[in-house]
């Protein structure tokens, strides 16, 4: 298992370089000049030129890129063009909030999704099966921002149970987490159902029953572990999507996370902020994929031992 993880970590290096290059170039190719934005509409050319020099924007692109890369190696993410503050601490604060939100959303999606999917499979064609799958369809089709607004309207305006947003404590994050996790929950429920239906038809399930094991043990112990194999890949991908997809949710509920930081950065053409944030989201996405592959190996010994 350990050599496998190490090998995967080494594979990350070229991916990381690619990510930094992409985030760097994408922003350079985008129209608009941050120096002009900083200087204001009526600034004279000298002021703009001075700002360019100050931030190294007058250097050739490769130089700017290696300068950026070198600073990254030293843990220096640069200073925000618009606020002048270090990007590193800004990003960490935002990241912790987004991770908390995404993790809460994922846990919610997993627990509810797997339970609903498994019950729907075991009671195939029952009332529970058809209604839960109909709701799953709605959940998957509902846009985040709309679901967020509906939840806010019902559960914090009409019935003020939850705060409408702005907080970063667990209680304030419940509505955003539901908003964020519903799509993943719907997908996980449908996948669990399909996977369970496949598994409970297998011979080894019949063997388990033929050996006198009780239905809860057969379903939870023998069937679910097999059914989790295809689901575990989706979980990783979903966590990635939750991190990326938290932008709309964070804005609806005014959660000061990475999504908010990214959008503010883009609007202000704040290169260091946008680059660093994109880089971090990409790194997290890649790490999540790695963890997914490792969990896959945990659920399926056939992968671990090959």
């Amino acid at each position: 298992m350990l050599p496998y993880i190490l090998r995967r970590l080494i594979h990350l290096i070229p991916v990381m370089i690619g990510v930094t290059l992409c985030s760097f170039l994408l922003l350079k190719l985008a129209p608009g000049d941050p120096a002009e934005v900083l200087a204001g509409i009526e600034a004279n050319p000298e002021v703009i030129e001075a700002i360019r020099r100050k931030h190294g924007l007058d250097q050739p692109l490769p130089v700017q890129y290696f300068y950026y890369l070198g600073n990254l190696m030293l843990g220096d993410f640069g200073k925000s063009i618009s606020t002048g503050l270090d990007v590193g601490p800004m990003m960490w604060r935002a990241l912790i909030v987004t991770l908390k939100l995404s993790a809460l959303g994922l846990v919610l999606a997993l627990v509810v999704g797997i339970v609903i999917g498994a019950v729907a499979a075991v009671r195939q064609n029952s009332f529970f099966d058809s209604t839960s799958m109909l709701f799953a369809l709605f959940g998957a089709a509902m846009p985040n921002f709309w679901l967020g607004l509906l939840l806010m309207w019902t559960l914090s305006v009409t019935f003020p149970i939850f705060p409408a947003g702005g907080g970063t404590d667990l209680y304030s994050l419940i509505l955003p987490a539901i908003t964020l996790g519903t799509g993943a929950m719907a997908l996980i429920a449908r996948m669990t159902r399909a996977s369970m239906l496949e598994v409970i038809r297998q011979d080894y399930i019949r063997t388990a029953y033929a050996n006198g094991l009780s239905p809860p043990i057969v379903i939870i112990r023998h069937a679910l572990k097999n059914a989790m194999i295809p689901i575990s890949t989706v979980i990783g991908l979903q966590f990635g999507y939750l991190l990326g997809g938290s932008v709309a949710t964070e804005i609806v509920f005014a959660v000061p996370g990475v999504g908010q930081l990214l959008v503010d950065g883009i609007l202000a053409r704040d290169y260091p902020v946008v680059q660093s944030t994109m880089l971090m989201v990409a790194i997290i996405f890649v790490l999540v994929n790695l963890i997914t592959d490792i969990s896959y190996a945990y659920f399926d010994p056939r992968i671990r031992l090959k």
Binding site: Y204, T207, Y209, N211, K225, N226, P301, R302
Partner: protein, 327 residues
Amino acid sequence: MSSQPLLSVRDLQTQFVSDGRVIKAVDGVSFDVRPGEILGIVGESGSGKSVTALSVMGLIPWPPGRVVGGSIMFEGEDLRAKTQAQMRRVRGAGIAMVFQEPRTAMNPVFRIGEQMTEVIMLHRKMSRAEASGEARSMLDRVHIAEPGRVMSAYPFELSGGMLQRVMIAMELALRPRLLIADEPTTALDVTIQAQILRLIRELHDEFDLTVLFITHDLGVIAQLCDRVMVMYAGAVVELSPVDALFHSPAHPYTRKLLAAVPSVVDTRNTLRSIAGDVPDLADLPPGCRFYDRCDLRQPECRLAIPDLRKVGEDHTARCVLPNAISP
């Protein structure tokens, strides 16, 4: 043979529903399994052999299937009257079952040892350590060379023959009174098949085990069984001691089945088959089910299903003229 039968099935009827049609997979099957014997059930695919076995185990999946009639008495108790919780104590500990395809019959994500100890702990009320020791000694008993290594292996790391031994060891570790083996050698190589058959014979002698052995292979029946039941289209057509079946088959179907076994001596003949098709189990004719394919059919055969008639010592056949047939 005066002793009480271990398993007594009477007029068993198991049906499946498919596209609104009722398929009579098992229709009025009756037989006894006597203590200590190996009873073979032979028949082609779809003759109702496996459905009979699963009906006894109470493992017919509803939907689409269900046992709709008859009685299944095991050790004097009616299994059909038992609750699910009571049936769970019969499955494994009373009647154990070994399946056709050992590769898919074991759970791919658990080690062999985990799967064995789990059921041994359940039925024999042992601690984990005791159950593990029992599993190890049973693996040793079925001639597995390195029980320790096999216990910590996953099913995909073992060969089909090894896995079938493991399955047999797992089931026998539960000390069942009856072992149902549903084509346990069909998926295996011929040489492995012979080893497994020898093993079953050996364990039968050692543990005084009663076996219900299902196969489509008459050769296997001849090697292993004491008595044999021939099934055709969901019904029993002949029930007899093995010797009598091979020397004086009474039912035309049995005779054709025997004639279809390829001969090593006479290799000039091409492979023989039985002309015609098995009747549609959802639309059975009122008379004999073999009528369409029978060379000796009589007008009366068309009208009603013949009874099982005694044709010899401990030998019955479902045919109107068993005595007219010369062996």
